[in-house]
């Protein structure tokens, strides 16, 4: 199969997909090497990024997806008759704590925010933006939370390494959270579940 035709087919898959298209799926469907699938997707990414088009290819949640440009948001909202939504500060703060501290327990979230977060945690769970990862192997076996694929999709992130960098004011000394047993941030990057 020539590459032009391959690219053309991959482009059609991007149109009909209901979620970000992964390179391994493309490879499986078209019976090609995954590296070749990646090449196709990346070429399409470049094509759309350079041409002045109504939408672009985004690297999101471990896959590739057509997304409109932010500068057209108002027109599209008008067309769809949808109102812009806003996150509450409580929701954003909690999401930030979960995203950067995962795997994290409710007690740790409450401690870091200084307020009870049960309501926000529940809302974020209901919205599928965070998920229960399991339980922590410490006395009491508290439930631990992490962000979901939907979180990445919502914020347009390819993976967790794409999160905005935390400004380092002063790292909370580990002994202070020892009773809470906060997981180290390095775990974020190494957690396979979040990466493509």
């Amino acid at each position: 199969m020539v590459t032009a035709e391959l690219k053309c087919i991959v482009e059609s898959l991007l149109l009909v997909a209901h979620s970000p298209v992964k390179a391994d799926t493309v490879a499986l469907i078209l019976g090609i090497e995954e590296s070749r699938a990646v090449l196709c997707l990346e070429q399409l990414y470049d094509d759309y990024a350079t041409g002045y088009r109504g939408f672009v290819v985004c690297r999101v949640a471990g896959g590739y997806q057509f997304r409109t440009r932010p500068e057209h948001a108002e027109w599209i909202r008008k067309f769809r008759r949808s109102r812009p939504f806003r996150f509450s500060r409580a929701a954003l703060e909690t999401l930030a704590v979960v995203a950067y501290r995962q795997p994290v327990t409710r007690a740790e979230i409450d401690y870091l925010r200084g307020v009870d977060s049960s309501g926000v945690v529940r809302t974020l769970l209901d919205r599928h933006l965070i998920r229960i990862l399991g339980k922590k192997d410490v006395p009491g076996k508290p439930v631990i939370y992490g962000t979901s694929r939907e979180f990445l999709a919502l914020f347009g992130l390819a993976d967790l390494t794409g999160l905005p960098t935390l400004k380092e004011f002063n790292e909370l000394p580990p002994e202070m959270l020892s009773e809470l047993e906060v997981g180290s941030q390095t775990q974020i990057a190494s957690d396979d579940g979040f990466l493509a």
């Binding site: 009909v16 954003l92 999401l95 930030a96 009870d116 990862l133 919502l154 914020f155 347009g156 909370l172």
Partner: protein, 255 residues
Amino acid sequence: MAYEICLDSFKGPLDLLLHLIRKHEMDIYDIPIAEITAQYLATLEVMQSLNLDLAGEFLLMAATLLQIKSRMLLPQDREENEEAEEPDPRTELVNRLLEYQKYREVACCLESLPLLGRDVFVREVTPAEEGRPQDESPEWEPVGLFELVAAFHRVLSGREEEAVHEITREHLSVTERIYQILEALSDTPCLAFSEILADVVSRSHIIVTFLAMLELVRMRLARLMQHNPDHVIWIYAVDGGETVSVAEGQIFGYS
């Protein structure tokens, strides 16, 4: 003192403290604890006077600040001081504030990202277009533990609703309960409140029993006695009680 700030906008005590530190240009690494405590308590007072619902966390922080303040006022033991330096009582608070500040700032960064459904949009595939996945599809769509436990909760709560229809609720009137208590009192001069409630399981049954006792007292058929507050409540039969008959109509307001 003027509070031009929107008081109910604080997301918690840490948020409020950061605001006060910034507003009064304090050094976060060397917080004047007496001053910040005064500022904090003054703000709480304003919030209370405005009838704002103060969450427990705000009061807890007030207690923490006062504790730190008192610890800083304590004279340091010179001999002990030579052995091991007493940690600054403010350390934990300062670290929490710095840490919280990080997440508060990054939350704003997150919000400024192009959000799906707000700033950027994708093509929505209609169910008809999507078609049905074939049975041989090897993969399951990821589903979370929260969805699993929510599904179990849904199943169980569905059963509870049905159970209400299945169990025929025992209908017990206050009158019946009065007779039961009087009968129990015919063998013994007094009964403990807990004895009367011993075989009572349902909430409505407890209420009926309670009302029955109040009726008995009102009709002067029984007396309630307690030797000490928090002690056992005794119900005594009033002498000659067995000769009194209670007609249905005499008990007003209850059935």
